[in-house]
Subunit: 247 residues, 2 copies
C-alpha cells in the first residue's frame, strides 16, 4: 500500500503554508492548546513526534525538558523547513512515513502525533507499532479530525437557513470505517474515517488504557474575538486522545 504524501505537492504545500501562517487558524486556537494540555511532564523524556511537519512541537518538547526528540515526516519539504526553523542538537528529523515506524530501533517515553493519523489507512497496525515503541507507563497523545468530520464523503457539509446561517452539520456514513476522498487545496486528499468506537477499541486491544478525550469547542473569550467558530458547537473539528501503556 502506497503512503500518501500530499505535503510534497507544491499547490498543497503552499496552500497549507498560508493557513498555518494565520495565527487565528483552528489549529492554533483549538488543536494545539488541547494537545499540549494532554502532555505529561517531559523532563528527561524521549519523545517521538509522528508527522512532525515544521517541527514546532518538537522544539516545544525540548523547551519542556525532553532529553531527546525524534520527529518523523513523510514530507521532505516540511523537514527542510523544520531543520532550519526548529533546529536543535537533541532533535533528529527523519524523512519516513509513519507506517514504517516499526523499523525504528529505539524506545520512547512519549509519542505524540498532531493531525496526521487520519491519513493512515492501517490504524490498527500503526497503534500496535506505537505500543511496541513506547516504554511501560509511556504515554500516547494524538489529535485527529473529529469522526463527525471524517465520516463525510460528498455533497453539502452544512444545511443553511435562508440567511445562509448554518443550521445543521450533515453527517453521512458515520458507521462505515474507511477511505474518504476530500478536496483540501488539491483534489482527492485521502483521509480515513474511523468511528469513535473503532478509535477507542483499537487502542484498548493494543494494550493502552484510555486516559482522556477532548473534543475542543470555543471558550467565551475565543468566541468574542472569533464569532465564526460558533459552528464548532454543532460539530467539533478535532478529537484528541491521551492513552497510557499499561505497566
Amino acid at each position: 500500500m502506497a503512503q500518501q504524501n500530499i505535503y510534497d505537492n507544491d499547490i498543497f504545500f503552499n496552500g497549507y503554508k498560508k493557513i498555518r501562517e494565520n495565527d487565528n487558524n483552528a489549529n492554533n486556537l483549538f488543536e494545539t492548546p488541547a494537545l499540549l494540555s494532554l502532555l505529561p511532564e517531559l523532563n528527561n523524556k524521549a519523545v517521538l513526534d509522528l508527522g512532525c511537519g515544521y517541527g514546532d512541537h518538537c522544539m516545544e518538547f525540548i523547551n519542556r525538558g525532553a532529553s531527546k526528540v525524534v520527529g518523523i515526516d513523510i514530507s521532505e519539504k516540511m523537514l527542510e523547513i523544520a531543520r532550519i526553523e526548529n533546529n536543535h542538537p537533541n532533535i533528529l528529523y527523519k524523512n519516513m512515513p509513519m507506517e514504517n515506524i516499526g523499523m525504528l530501533n529505539e524506545r520512547f517515553d512519549v509519542v505524540v502525533s498532531s493531525l496526521a493519523i487520519h491519513y493512515v489507512d492501517d490504524y490498527k497496525g500503526l497503534i500496535n507499532n506505537i505500543f511496541n515503541l513506547i516504554n511501560e507507563n509511556g504515554i500516547l497523545v494524538f489529535s485527529q479530525e473529529n469522526p463527525l468530520n471524517t465520516c463525510f464523503s460528498k455533497g453539502r457539509r452544512w444545511t443553511k437557513d435562508e440567511k445562509g446561517h448554518r443550521l445543521f452539520a450533515n453527517i453521512s456514513n458515520y458507521g462505515i470505517d474507511g477511505e474518504r476522498e476530500s478536496v483540501w487545496f488539491i483534489d482527492n486528499v485521502k483521509k480515513y474515517h474511523r468511528t469513535f468506537s473503532t478509535i477507542i477499541n483499537t487502542l484498548i486491544e493494543a494494550g493502552f488504557i484510555i486516559e482522556k478525550l477532548i473534543e475542543p469547542v470555543p471558550t467565551k473569550e475565543i468566541l468574542d474575538k472569533h464569532p465564526e467558530y460558533q459552528d464548532l458547537f454543532h460539530k467539533p473539528d478535532f478529537l484528541l486522545v491521551k492513552a497510557r501503556k499499561s505497566a
Copy 2:
C-alpha cells in the same frame, strides 16, 4: 431536581408497550445483542439492573447463573409487569429512581443499564454512585442513545433527496452537553445529551477503565430482511459501553 417518570404516563406507556411488542424493533435487533455481548461471566454474581423495565434482562441474568439480581425502575407500572412476567425468587424489583442508588446498602459484581442513562441529568453523580456500589474488578455495562442522536434539539432530523431517501443525518449542538426536549409518544420527553468525550472522561475520572465501546450497525443478514435499517450506517441509534472498576 425532580426525576422524570415518563413511563407512568398512560399514553407513553401504551405507545412504548406497542413498539416493544414488535420483535423487529431496533432494541431487539441491535441494542440487546450488543448489550448481552458485553456481559462478563455471571455465574454466582450479584447484578444490579438500572431501569430494569419489564425485567427481561433481570431474568436473563438469572438464566446466566447470577445468584442475586436487583432491578430498579422509576415506573411502578413497569415493575408490576416485571413481577408477573419475570418473577424469580432471586430477583428483587424495587421502585426507585436511579438517581437514588446511593441509598442501596449492598454491593454488586456487575451493574447493567439498558437505554435509561440518557434520561439522567446528573451523569457524573450517577457514575460516581455506581462506582461506589461495584466491587473491585466489577463491571459496568450500559447502553444509551448514541450522542449523534441525543445532540439533536429541533427541526428536521434528516436531509432527503427528491425521492425522499435520506441523504444526511442533521447534527446540531453536538458540542453542548445538556437537556434536550423531544417528542416520543408524548411531548417534552427530556433527554440529556453528552458528547463521547464527556461520557468517557466521566467514567475514567470516577475510577473506571474503559474496556469496549459498541455503536451497532446492521449486519448483511439483518439488512437483507430489514432494509429500512440502512440509515443506521449514517447515524447509529445506540452507544454501548463496558467499563471495569480498577482493583
